[in-house]
């Protein structure tokens, strides 16, 4: 992993863990996860405490800043840094839980379709086609709008809408693995169909699914922010980054930093996850060739 190593093989771009971008992604994701897990200990102020005497204090790089509030305060006098850290917790929570729900649905469908073939596969393909024709943002908005916004409902709704890529990748990789010798050997050894799926097929397609998972976490985080921005995602006063941008929108022409701070956080987190995902893809791709 040392730079001395990589100098020798500079033909073509460096890939996987040898690439700096993968490490940038890993560091961003690492910081975000720490913020998410340890948010209650990290926040300098209560992210929900309002102080109307200290509304819209400016962040540290501007004139007249308050050292107690490094990133300033919002329109209700709540500490912006604390809300940002708490928002990271919400983003990571949504990203991970939505991905778990969609992975369960998508991988089950994809592996079944790819392994069984025939009419089962036709049904799976049809489900994917139908899912793709449904406008995600609109339907998610409609469900939350009709049933009322809550964190759990948001996770389930997005999870039910975002499984398509898991299904497509699980299906195609299962098809490749299905005909390999070790699966045939397991059949001959008298293993049950479930045993073959769980012990022989799944471990061999897992690396591809991990890459899909990173993409889905990023997508879920972006979607949650968009829904919260439209007022039909995470319910206030929870400090989702999308909601922070929505609440700050009225002040953005006078003090642009109010939307810049949560937006940059969102952008960096999604970028970090994508960089890490690309790095993992190259890493696994390279190890498959070896």
């Amino acid at each position: 992993m040392s730079t001395a190593n990589t100098v020798a093989v500079t033909a073509g771009p460096r890939r996987g863990w040898k690439s700096a971008s993968t490490w940038v992604g890993a560091v961003i994701v690492g910081i975000a996860v720490i913020c998410a897990v340890a948010a209650p200990m990290l926040v300098p102020h209560d992210p929900f405490a309002q102080d109307l005497g200290k509304r819209l204090l400016v962040p540290f790089w501007m004139e007249g800043t308050d050292p107690a509030h490094i990133l300033g305060t919002d329109q209700l006098g709540r500490d912006y840094l604390s809300r940002l850290i708490w928002g990271c917790r919400i983003s990571i929570f949504i990203g991970v839980t939505v991905t778990i729900v969609s992975a369960l649905i998508g991988i089950t469908l994809g592996v079944l379709g790819g392994f069984m073939g025939g009419w089962v596969d036709d049904v799976v393909l049809f489900a994917v086609t139908t899912r793709l024709s449904i406008p995600v943002v609109l339907v998610a908005l409609a469900v939350v709008g009709l049933l009322g916004s809550s964190l759990n409902l948001l996770v389930i709704t997005l999870g039910l809408l975002l499984w398509d890529r898991f299904a497509v990748v699980a299906r195609s990789t299962t098809m490749q693995v299905r005909n390999l010798d070790f699966v045939a050997a397991a059949w001959c050894a008298g293993c049950s169909r479930f045993h073959i799926l769980a012990r022989e097929v799944l471990p061999n397609i897992a690396s591809h699914l991990v890459v899909v998972a990173t993409l889905e976490v990023a997508l879920a985080i972006l979607l949650e922010a968009a829904l919260s921005f439209l007022g039909l995602g995470v319910p206030p006063p929870l400090p989702s980054w999308g909601l922070m941008i929505a609440e700050a929108k009225d002040y953005m022409f006078f003090s642009p930093w109010v939307i810049v701070i949560p937006g940059v956080a969102l952008f960096l987190l999604v970028l970090g996850i994508n960089l890490l995902g690309d790095g993992l893809r190259d890493q696994f791709g390279a190890s498959a060739d070896r």
């Binding site: 024709s133 469900v143 968009a226 941008i245």
Partner: protein
Amino acid sequence: MLRFLIRRLIVAILVVATVLTLVFVLTRLSGDLAISIAGPGATQLDIDTVRKAYGLDRPVLTQFFDWVGRAATGDLGESFFFKARVSTLIAERMPVTLSLGFTGLVIALIVSLPLGILAAVRENTGFDRAVQVVALLGQAMPSFWLGLLLMIVLGLQLGWLPISGTGSWEYYVMPGIVLAFSAIPALTRLTRAGMIQAMSSDYIRTARAKGLSRASILLKHALRNAAIPVVAIAAVQLGFMLGGSIVIEQVFAMHGVGFLAWESISKNDFPVVQAVVLVLAVIYVVLTMLADLMNAVLDPRLRGA
């Protein structure tokens, strides 16, 4: 070719039928619609009146087949809030959304085709890597946030473009850029990959051996083959853009179909909501079908599939 067409058409019809059912179930999830339509201060008598007036007192299955039957003939029902036909409402708002979608697609193609081609020609150079970084940045950009930033910079500080609303073509530039951003990464990567593959194929070597000029090889031979998947994905991306324009229309206060859907969701106006979901799904299905057909026409090898 005919078999391919028929198969594709049957799948499309089945997909639309499934969406129709899902949309119906979705709007019934919210419990008693009559209560939410009648409003908070309604008496039991009001609720009963509403229930009768909108046919909500009938068995669910009757309501379902009524809705399917009407939808099949283009009758999407009546809006509770606007007191107008849903099909009229959508038809009024559709031009804004379509113009927005096409603006986005054109901007996306203008940016991603040259970027993808140049990145492929200069594979593994600094330029190629820069293009890939741009694609990565575009992928991570939250569209609504980009919209707000453009409003501040292009609208307020530079004063080049109107900040929000609908009117002349200038109103479509900023939202078009934002919408294009969501499609540029995929289109650029696909163009690049397609061009790299095409450039390493035998017919390009033949063309080189014949002594054709570099531009002629690139644009006449390689691009024509690399364009097939790009055209297909562009159609699909247009479908996604129309679906995603609900966010952009909201940001820029453009009164298109997405804005209509958002208004209707917040007012519990479920005939409009279910109709917009259905219309967008049908548009997507038609677009993907066109993309497949275009693929089959341009590349005869795909017709067997």
